[in-house]
């Protein structure tokens, strides 16, 4: 009997991480694409950093940043009554870190392709920036952003390095699919490893297909 908990946990972690990527990531991408401010390049570099650093380094930073003795970690413990590290919530943070940089970088590009004139037109009609963002910019960028969101979900499913550093490998608690595969190979359970590999590959393929489907240009409508 196969234990499906890792799959269920991975889906839950990826869904939550994607939710945070969509909200916070879209906000940051909007700032980067529409605002000029001091230190913009630095922010951009910081966002790219997780893409190039080894997962162990990122995991180490996270442990220092949100560990039980850090201010952030204590704040979290005070708010939720339990430490963050070595819980499945830490796996969400790890997955977020794994998928947010790509979402933000590509999301910025998507938001930049929205023709400024639509936003200007909205402003000249009296619409606030907030209203313009919700009613004009976001709907026009939605196709691209939702495709990126499914890509983020697929990427969140696949994090291994950071997850094992900050969430550990506790079966039934923090063991996500990718960690479970590592565990199965280590303990010589070839059959389990094979099945999990096929499951995660199929899920990733389906999500990539969905991303491609969403990012297709809208069918051209004929002019009347």
């Amino acid at each position: 009997m196969i234990d499906w908990f890792p799959l269920w946990l991975s889906l839950r972690v990826a869904a939550l991480a994607t939710f945070f990527v969509l909200t916070a990531g879209t906000f940051v991408a909007y700032l980067l694409s529409h605002k000029s401010f001091r230190g913009k390049n630095l922010v951009d570099s910081l966002i790219t950093l997780p893409l190039v650093l080894p997962p162990t380094v990122l995991g180490y930073y996270l442990l220092v940043l949100v560990g039980r003795h850090s201010p952030l970690g204590q704040l979290y413990e005070g708010l939720f009554g339990q430490p963050l590290v070595f819980t499945w919530q830490a796996a969400v943070v790890a997955a977020f870190l794994h998928s947010a940089p790509i979402y933000i970088k590509a999301g910025r590009a998507v938001l930049e392709t929205v023709d400024t004139r639509y936003e200007w037109a909205a402003h000249s009609l009296g619409a606030s920036e907030w209203r313009t963002f919700w009613r004009v910019t976001l709907p026009l960028a939605w196709r691209g952003l939702s495709s990126l969101a499914s890509l983020s979900f697929a990427r969140s499913l696949g994090d291994f390095g950071v997850t094992i550093m900050v969430a550990g490998n506790i079966p039934g608690q923090t063991q996500t699919l990718s960690v479970a595969i590592f565990d199965a190979v280590e303990s010589g359970d070839g059959r389990l490893a094979r099945i999990l590999v096929i499951v995660i590959s199929a899920a990733a393929l389906a999500l990539l297909w969905a991303a491609g489907y969403l990012s297709r240009p809208a069918r051209a409508q004929s002019a009347g």
Partner: protein, 363 residues
Amino acid sequence: MRIDARLIKRLPPTGGSEAFELNVHLKSDADITVLLGPSGAGKTLTLNCLGGFATPDEGRILVNDELYFDAPTKLRLPPQQRRCGYIFQDHALFPHMTVRENLRFAANAGRGNSGLNRHRRIAELLETFELADLAGRKPAQLSGGQKQRAALARMLVNEPKLLLLDEPTRGLDGRLKQAFYELLGKLRERSAAPMVLVTHDLEECMELAGHVCLMEAGRFTQCGPRERVFARPATVEVARSLSIYNILPASVEALDPGRDCSRLSVLGQLWEVPYLPGRLIGDQGYVCVRQSETKVVVASGSPAAANQLLLKIESASPSLRGVRIQLEHAVIAEISEAEYALCRGSERLTVEVPSAAVYFVGK
């Protein structure tokens, strides 16, 4: 003054283009002010400064006695508070909304209207601009002319105080252009706000402008009421840019205020024109005669008569009014097919200008 805008904006050189400086003073009391100039002259940048989408480095903008921008006091009203109706090139109708939703977006964005008022205003505007049947369509399902009407209707929803139109007839054929000018008449019934319209189309300028600002390389070369600018270009460069004039070098030979008469030497011929106040004998300059007033004398002899020139024909091409003949010294005249048949084969042609049509501009 309904519009009084002093604008200086410097754009640093970028990859493809050189540094650019906009330095203009737009003052107008007219209903429609037209900025006329070639592309790259800074017309759209001027509109963007008025609308709040570009911030001048120096200057101030005063519209209907309301201060939009003042560089010394760092006052800059955001576009939302300027209440400018802006027609962008290609209209910028929101592609994901229907025509009615586009108007409703504008109504909801504006302040102070009650729900019922908004509803009524949208219905009225859809009716006025013949959009009632198209209200449920998305912009992609509209023709060029329909998009134009929708953009105008959307602009008027919030009763703007200044109307900015950026090449509104670009890409429309002659018939649709005419329809658009009629629409502007309709628009006038609903909004008395001053309008600034950008174009590089001379005929459009003729058709619409009350006040004209000719623009070149970030500057106004001449501003004023339309008739004045077109009849009295300030410099020979302005006259050339209008491309409605035949321009020939000339010098003042005699001045007789008593008989209200002056004599000019044009290519060695003496022309008699009305008295030129403020000129001196020997002044060098140019005579400008509208191409439409340059007559061709078909039964040509020697150019003995006054105000005539014998010029070599360089080429002839069919035109709307008959045949357009290009003569030496870049003189252009238009004659009918029948007249052209009479002078076909001759190498030279005599042109005559009525003395009242001659305008002398100094060097």
